[in-house]
Every structure is written in structure tokens, then in C-alpha cells.
Symmetry: C2
């Protein structure tokens, strides 16, 4: 398991990309990608050291990001790249984690599989499978 990115809930990817560039000198990699199944548009900022920030914008009011934004938005998940997604989920569940998004393919990651869990402290963790299967 290794750190991949932090997720940031934003009203506007464009505005936040500008803020990252002006305040921190950090720029977007690639172009935004829509994930209609998740009701989100995402874009990545390169943070150096291969680390990324994922800007996540709601595509509609049904988006889980819309409710996060109503509570202020901002940093809301950490994503780890893992070798075996199913085994990782099982380990987390054995420690009390709740699976909130079962394994699914993600357009933003070249159709590699992701899953989201809630740890027992209420934090949101994403797992990203290292290889497409």
C-alpha cells in the first residue's frame, strides 16, 4: 500500500487549478475526466514526488460531492495504490471499515478498479488497484 493522492471536493476545478498554480506553482496533469457513474468530474494536480491532488467537482446535485460541498468541501479522502484490491478491502473490513463504494472501474484511472471505505474514525479512504485486470 502506498500513497497515491489526496482528494479535494471543489465547486470548480477550473478555479482551483488556477489557485494551485498561482499560490503554489503546481499545475494540472492532463485534462478533466467525467465519471458519470460517480456523478463527478475529476482532474489531477501534480504535487511532485509522483504525488497527486485530485480535484473532484460534482456533475449534478445527486453527486456525493454536492453534500460534501454543503459542509464546506476541501480535503476529504486519501487514496492508496494497492496490489490486491479485494484482499485490501477484506483487511479493512476486518478492522471495522464500511465499504461505501464497492470495487468498480474508474475512467479517471484508465479503467483500473477503485473502492472507497469509511474507517471507524469516519475518514474516507480510497483504494486504487495497481494494475488493470
Amino acid at each position: 500500500m502506498r500513497f497515491h493522492h489526496v482528494g479535494i471536493a471543489v465547486e470548480s476545478i477550473a478555479n482551483h487549478a488556477t489557485l494551485f498554480e498561482k499560490a503554489l506553482g503546481l499545475t494540472m496533469t492532463g485534462v478533466p475526466v467525467d465519471d458519470t457513474g460517480q456523478h463527478v468530474r475529476v482532474a489531477f494536480i501534480s504535487l511532485g514526488n509522483a504525488a497527486l491532488a485530485e480535484l473532484v467537482e460534482p456533475l449534478d446535485e445527486q453527486s456525493p460531492i454536492s453534500s460534501l460541498l454543503r459542509r464546506g468541501g476541501g480535503l476529504y479522502h486519501v487514496c492508496y495504490e494497492v496490489d490486491d484490491l479485494d484482499a485490501t478491502i477484506k483487511t479493512a473490513q476486518a478492522a471495522g471499515a464500511i465499504l461505501i463504494t464497492p470495487a468498480r472501474r474508474a475512467p479517471a484511472f484508465g479503467e483500473r478498479r477503485i473502492a472507497f471505505v469509511h474507517l471507524t474514525d469516519g475518514s474516507i479512504v480510497e483504494f486504487l488497484e495497481a494494475k488493470a485486470i
Copy 2:
């Protein structure tokens, strides 16, 4: 500028270190360090890829972390390692950032200098100088 760590406000470093280990298999590096000037105790979890999570526990009710915990705690800052702290702060301020913790030495980082800013979106960013001066 390169990603260094995410900061997580927690009631108890011990409880969170246990959660990271059981749910994610990620372990603490070193031992907790008190920063009495900041009213916090901090400890680091290795996330692989040289990335870290900083668990930040309040030392008292005056701690800025106490007020964060009253609002739920959890992820609250991203820290970047920078070559020139003073120049980095100036660039961020020119983009509207507010300096909330001016440059100071941090016991948790071998007395290297840190600073905290609020970006215009309300997010909290820490800068950590690469070399001790």
C-alpha cells in the same frame, strides 16, 4: 515544491496509529514529538513512496487542534517541502494567501522551519523548508 505529508487532527495518536495499522497495515515512524509552542503532539505514519501522514493531537484546550476536533477533526492540511520558505510564503501571499503561522522552527522536523498559510479557498497549507538554516 513537493508533497511531504497530510495532516490529520485526532483525539488520540495512539488510537489512530492502531487504526492505521489494523485497517491499512501502515505503521508509525519513530515516536510522538511534543511541540509545546504549537500546543500539539505529532507522530508520523509512513504511507510508502516517502509520503507521510502526520497525526496531530492537542496538548491542551488552547491548541488550534482542539477547535478543529470540535468541528469533527480529520484531514485538515497538506504540507509541501520547499527550497526557499520565505520566497514560497511571498508567492502564496501575492495570490491572496493569509499567513497564519509565520516561519518558526519545528521540533517535529529536526528544527527545520515551517509556516502555515490559509489559501483563498479556506484550505490550510503548510510549508516545510528542505534544509535547516
